[in-house]
Symmetry: C2
Subunit: 363 residues, 2 copies
DNA sequence: ACGACGAATTCACACGTGTGCATAAATAGC
DNA sequence: GCTATTTATGCACACGTGTGAATTCGTCGT
């Protein structure tokens, strides 16, 4: 009788039943601010204010509350907090691919997030089949504070999924420039700097006739590295010759074939080649050697990326090592700045690469 | 006057002020179930029931609600839902390292999560400095539904952070076995199967005196591959000779030195070597060649991992290719089974590797 | 026509945290 | 000792979703 009429027992019972039977609940219940409040003898508001460093709390109660939090091993529920703040203290990384290049970038991002106490959600899509997948959905679903987008494809125009992010004012920073018309917040490898370093190295070791194996022209790096190559030749007052450039699409075999063609060039073969990545550099070296040329005596080759394989290849490959791990950290830092002030002017950071001279070029 | 007395306006005003001034809110407001309810003319409960396929809803209202959801482009707020369900429709991957091996595993996991519509939180720790970081914290903070743990270190006893997960009944699946005393849910490379395949290959091509360069004995793979090696010799009725085994700790240089020592073994040098990874296989091959031996004519070498470099090395390295991408998918599947029934018996899955015969061993 | 029953919907509460406003307590001023 | 002011806390509502229990609505049988 008492049970049925009491206004308190009914809801309470319902809670208990819920806790016992619900298919959702499986974890041991964690203490909440209410538990702490009860223990100390205040309301949960007060506890909340202590957690959020509200100055309007007396030192005495503050101490008591902090002590109680320690004792109960309290940790705020970031999901509940996220519901109120519309943020979850997490970032998202969206990458259209997971290849060896991305790994050090992810490492940089992940380490920085950990240092800052942020979570990191990883979303890998697939650029071929899902290029226009909604990115905003991710943010809406998990309410991440900001998004890092690893951009590989060269876009002339802003794709729809990016426009959607902008429309919803979602803080976001790109890894790799965007090219096309639009300037966006980004942290990237400074391809101009890197390529100039490589070409200068070749020029300094006496080469005048330098060719290039380009990467795919659908990719940002492919486009940038080629234009940087032409720019470098110009700066160094060397001639650019179309007939000793080829496109290997970043692949070993395609570079191999292009290199063979170039080495038979009627206008005379180059004495040095710059390749847009290490894989193609290795393909080029193999082509040269298969045609009876000695590397680097007859022809020097420089790559880009500093893959592990570049070190083990025979001859080992001279290459450019981009600071991939740094990129991640710098990108998160920029994202924090964007979040703090979303209307700040667009910021572009280009990081310098290191030239590693090995056997495939004359030192 | 009306404004001040009306019981409705005050809270309403406060909401508006809140929305305008709060430092948290930055996103365009998304439609909620309440918006849909208002549009259709029902309460939010009804909408919620439609979303959750509650049968007690008439077909007519259900249709109206679904239509309204489409029109408003409604998407459930997973954070709010997570608060109620104590789950956020996301998994966490905890890995003590981000190295090239982990990448395909991550890819497998990420793809599977995407296919299932789950989010993936990535937490990389650092086994040297933070081995005992709390894992449970992660789950508590973001309320992930389950945890995948990439396990590299060989533990004799269950470490504290894992015990904590168990204590809180957090569904979790390991990648790589746990060894030691404790059996845990795991999806792993079947090292026994793989190593036996490699040793059999060497035996089948006429080798009787086979040595090994071990990996670090602090790692699960290091320990397992060595014991699998001894087991394989036994099964094939070949002799195990301590003097032609060395430990390279998974490093190129250490393997190089050990190999040189082994090749001078007073009990006679081996005609074939099995190395616990490709890096060490390359080190061993280099050592043999530096001592004037021909690979594979004088000595065959087999590695493990199928690194990209193994293909480009001269001679290219015969190796075992573990199905790393599969591991991720299988692990998520297992995790789902564990979530569905947390008290099910421990399940261990070992996946088979593929032997790839290249120049470093006689085919 | 009336009650009974089942189906459809609403009500009221919950999840854990944050915060504007009101109020209580403490302090200052005279 | 009384009011005016500051300081510390409580109250009530909010965030968006889920759900047991209560209520309303229709339908059927008598």
């Amino acid at each position: 009788m008492l049970f049925e009429s009491s206004p308190l027992t009914k809801p309470l019972l319902s809670v208990i039943m819920h806790t016992l039977t619900s298919k959702w609940v499986y974890m041991r219940k964690r203490p909440t601010i209410k538990d702490i409040a009860k223990k100390v003898g205040v309301t949960h508001s007060t506890v909340s204010r202590v957690i959020n460093d509200n100055p309007a709390i007396s030192g005495r109660t503050k101490d008591k509350i902090l002590k109680a939090m320690k004792e109960l091993d309290y940790q705020p529920n970031l999901v509940a907090r996220g519901l109120v703040r519309r943020k979850t203290h997490a970032f998202a990384l969206i990458t259209p691919d997971l290849n060896p290049h991305v790994l050090p970038i992810i490492k940089g991002i992940s380490d920085t997030c950990r240092r800052l106490g942020y979570g990191l959600m990883l979303f890998s899509t697939d650029y071929w089949t899902e290029e226009n997948r909604s990115y905003a959905e991710v943010v809406r679903n998990w309410l991440v504070d900001g998004v890092l987008i690893y951009n590989v494809i060269y876009h002339e125009d802003v794709p729809d999924n990016i426009k959607e992010l902008e429309k919803e004012n979602i803080p976001c920073v790109f890894i790799n420039k965007f090219l096309g018309r639009k300037k966006v917040n980004n942290v990237s490898i400074d391809n101009n700097e890197a390529v100039f370093k490589a070409v200068s190295h070749l020029a300094a070791t006496g080469h005048k006739r330098i060719g290039m194996i380009k990467g795919g022209m659908l990719s940002v790096d492919g486009v940038e590295r080629f234009s940087a190559f032409r720019g470098s030749l110009e700066k160094l007052e060397l001639e650019f010759d179309e007939s000793i450039t080829g496109c290997g699409n970043f692949f070993f075999n395609e570079a191999y074939e292009e290199m063979k063609r170039i080495l038979c060039s009627p206008s005379g073969r180059p004495t040095a080649m710059f390749c847009a990545n290490d894989i193609m550099a290795m393909g080029s070296v193999k082509a040269a050697m298969d045609m009876g040329l000695k590397v680097p005596q007859d022809i020097s080759v420089v790559g880009f990326d500093d893959l592990e394989a570049a070190r083990f290849f025979k001859p080992s490959i001279t290459t450019l090592k981009p600071p991939l791990e740094d990129i991640g950290g710098r990108a998160i830092e920029m994202l924090l700045r964007v979040i703090e002030n979303p209307s700040r002017p667009v910021e572009e950071i280009g990081l310098a690469s290191r030239l590693i001279v090995r056997e495939s070029s004359v030192a």
